[in-house]
């Protein structure tokens, strides 16, 4: 493995000039912009829990319409777009060739922007499809499929023309993401609408999609970035190739079985619930294999975290990954599920996965990639450092408030002598903490946006300086 990394480093320096990276620029700058725009939606939602009258009687701004916009905007506008942009950067470098087609890449980015704008308009207008995470109306979902095929063709064609025969683990994860997403997305958005797909049957497909949107789209795409950027940012070879294979192939097999754990104790066959519990516990295998590999790679290199913002995001993302993927299997135990399911604990858990882990990995990649593709240095390391601490402290504030509040809520629900409305009122302090944590996270987003845009826009003046690579 060590030799492979060294070879690739040498090759990367020698072939620096072959990459034009136009597609990477389009995708990453768009993603960072949507991160900030949808961040405003997130703050409005958090405010509504504390002040329910806030923007309360305008239909477009009610919670029921803003929540799908928040979820889809963050998942597709920010995170998936950022992961795709990073894939367009990583795969050509790991293959030692140019991206197969920059024109196709830019066209994909334009289509992606059309999708996100259509999503905003349709979701606020109440044209949601009514399936969680698959809220986009069918015509928009069709555009997503087209864009995904365009992305897939570009990446697979690049892999097919590669100079290095052996593929690095990030390349597997990205190929896996493209293949699995194709089927997971079709299941959630189209198979759910087939005639006769109603009730529990539709819900089972919906949860297969929802769970695997995180497990087989954002997990492999995020891990691909982490597997690439941890060795790159620390200039250290990956600890173990064999262990990365264990992680990858166990993820490929185990994840898809667990959808029904979203309906534990609910109206779905008991034996299917039990299967989903067994496989949820088995998720610990791919997670621990990956986390051990990341931590072992950093052995003797931890001092680098002091002055390397990308590594700070990558390693705190790794710790959040370990935690969120310990929570997941534990929630699927019937006894724990009876307390935490449907409570505010769950958004705490979901945000640690999507924000704390996969957005941290994506931001690490953006901080690493943007100065390099614009052949300049980051506008401000100090501001980048500030953004990290705002994300970390705001994130921890939000996660812990929601876990404690959710657990408390679950205990109260299990005592039916407490009227339901009392369990709502009891949570107001928790939601206030969440709102202020949200302001910190949003400030982190604003600093991130400012830093990245200044780096990109200021690159013209900086060209005279020697490029840092």
């Amino acid at each position: 493995m060590a030799t492979q990394t060294v070879n690739q480093s040498t090759a990367a320096v020698a072939t620096q000039e072959i990459h034009t990276d136009t597609t990477v620029k389009w995708f990453l700058l768009g993603a960072v912009g949507y991160f900030a725009i949808v961040g405003i939606v997130a703050l409005i939602i958090a405010a509504k829990f504390v002040w329910p009258q806030f923007l309360g009687s305008i239909s477009y701004f009610t919670y029921g319409r803003m929540r799908p916009l928040h979820v889809n905007g963050m998942l597709f506008g920010w995170l998936l777009a950022a992961d795709m942009g990073l894939a367009y950067y990583i795969v050509p470098r790991l293959c030692g060739v140019k991206l197969w087609s920059e024109k196709l890449g830019v066209a994909t980015s334009i289509l992606w922007n059309i999708i996100i704008v259509s999503a905003v308009v349709t979701l606020l207008g109440g044209y949601q499809k009514g399936l969680e995470y698959a809220d986009l109306p069918t015509p928009v979902a069709v555009l997503v499929v087209i864009a995904w095929v365009m992305f897939g063709i570009n990446i697979f064609a690049t892999v097919a023309t590669r100079k290095y025969e052996q593929m690095y683990v990030s390349t597997w994860y990205l190929m896996g993401t493209i293949l699995w997403t194709a089927f997971v997305y079709l299941t959630g958005n189209f198979a759910t609408l087939l005639p006769g797909m109603t009730g529990v049957n539709q819900a089972n497909l919906n949860w297969m999609y929802t769970h695997n949107a995180v497990g087989l789209i954002f997990t492999p795409a995020g891990l691909a970035a982490a597997y690439y950027f941890i060795p790159r940012a620390s200039n250290t070879p990956l600890h173990s190739h064999r262990l990365s294979m264990v992680g990858f192939w166990s993820l490929a097999f185990v994840y898809v079985w667990t959808g029904a754990h979203h309906m534990l104790h609910g109206p779905i066959s008991q034996w299917l619930q039990t299967i989903s519990i067994v496989f949820s516990i088995m998720l610990l295998i791919p997670v621990w294999a990956v986390v051990y590999n990341f931590i072992a790679t950093m052995k003797g290199q931890w001092h680098q975290l002091n002055d390397n913002v990308s590594l700070k995001f990558l390693m705190s993302g790794t710790i959040f990954y370990l935690l969120t993927c310990f929570q997941g299997p534990m929630h699927s135990l019937r006894s724990v599920n009876a307390i935490v399911s449907k409570t505010d604990w769950i958004p705490g858990h979901a945000h640690m996965a999507v924000l704390g882990t996969f957005s941290f990995f994506a931001m690490a990649g953006v901080y690493y990639v943007v100065p390099r593709i614009f052949k300049t240095t980051l506008h401000s390391e100090a501001i980048a450092n500030w953004s990290f601490w705002l994300f970390l402290i705001g994130g921890l504030g939000m996660f812990t408030a929601l876990w404690l509040g959710g657990f408390w809520q679950g205990w109260q629900w299990n005592n039916p002598s407490i009227p339901f409305i009392d369990t709502v009122v009891a949570l107001k302090p928790v939601w206030l903490v969440r709102f202020f944590s949200g302001i910190m996270i949003f400030s982190g987003i604003v600093l991130f946006l400012f830093n990245i845009m200044s780096t990109a826009l200021g690159s013209g003046q900086a060209e005279a300086e020697p490029a840092r690579s």
């Binding site: 509504k48 329910p52 309360g56 009687s57 239909s59 009610t62 919670y63 029921g64 319409r65 929540r67 799908p68 949601q128 499809k129 009514g130 399936l131 969680e132 097919a160 052996q166 593929m167 597997w172 190929m175 293949l179 699995w180 089927f183 299941t187 109603t198 009730g199 529990v200 049957n201 539709q202 819900a203 089972n204 497909l205 297969m208 087989l216 294979m245 192939w249 490929a252 097999f253 994840y255 898809v256 079985w257 959808g259 979203h262 309906m263 104790h265 609910g266 109206p267 066959s269 299917l272 299967i275 009876a338 449907k342 769950i346 958004p347 629900w413 299990n414 039916p416 709502v424 009122v425």
Partner: protein, 189 residues
């Protein structure tokens, strides 16, 4: 064997999709074939076997109400499942009567599943017949007038639109009514 996939992309694609489809097909296509209650509407006339009743098709008005429920994203705050937890059957109950747990055959006509994942407001799986239309109208106009401390948004554009209000209330009154579970039969219309 899998180490060959390191350098053979076609083999990689085959293995990645193969492993995915084992679990994918067994957990999505197989269950409805094995458990018929997923597709067969609830019907029971034998009181010794549990609650009696019959799941009936939605009327046109109820369907319009169902679409409003989807449009406004109600399911993001309200679940519709009385789980197999004692506290759920008590909380979904009414006037001291416990509600039966939800079963797949009660949801066969639901063309958009509304089970939900988050209970910011109370569960609605047995809301049908608990409150009158007048109560719902006042509640949609401003939930805090009836339930102090509630954080539900007001829905004036529904409360002030008789067509939409009637449709949405008609839909809500169907929730949980496939099973006749209240001995006094004291359901509001």
């Amino acid at each position: 064997m899998l180490h060959k996939t390191d350098s053979n992309a076609m083999l990689f694609v085959g293995a990645a999709l193969g492993l995915f489809f084992i679990g994918g097909l067994l957990t999505t296509v197989a269950p409805p074939l094995l458990d018929k209650s997923w597709g067969k509407p609830f019907e029971n006339h034998d009181a010794t076997k549990g609650p009696t009743g019959k799941l009936v098709a939605y009327t046109e008005q109820e369907k319009r109400g169902y679409d409003i429920y989807i449009r406004e994203g109600c399911k993001y705050c309200h679940t519709q499942q009385t789980r197999t937890l004692e506290s759920d059957t008590i909380r979904s109950g009414w006037k001291g009567v416990r509600s039966p747990v939800s079963t797949p055959d009660e949801f066969v006509n639901d063309y958009r599943q509304t089970f939900g994942t988050k209970r910011t407001g109370p569960d609605l799986s047995r809301i049908g017949g608990k409150y009158s239309k007048e109560w719902h109208r006042a509640h949609f106009r401003n939930p805090r007038d009836l339930v102090p401390g509630s954080i539900m948004p007001p829905f004036p554009w529904i409360a002030e639109n008789p067509d939409e209000l009637d449709a949405l209330v008609a839909y809500l009154q169907t929730r949980g009514r496939a099973k006749d579970w209240r001995p006094d039969n004291d359901y509001e219309k």
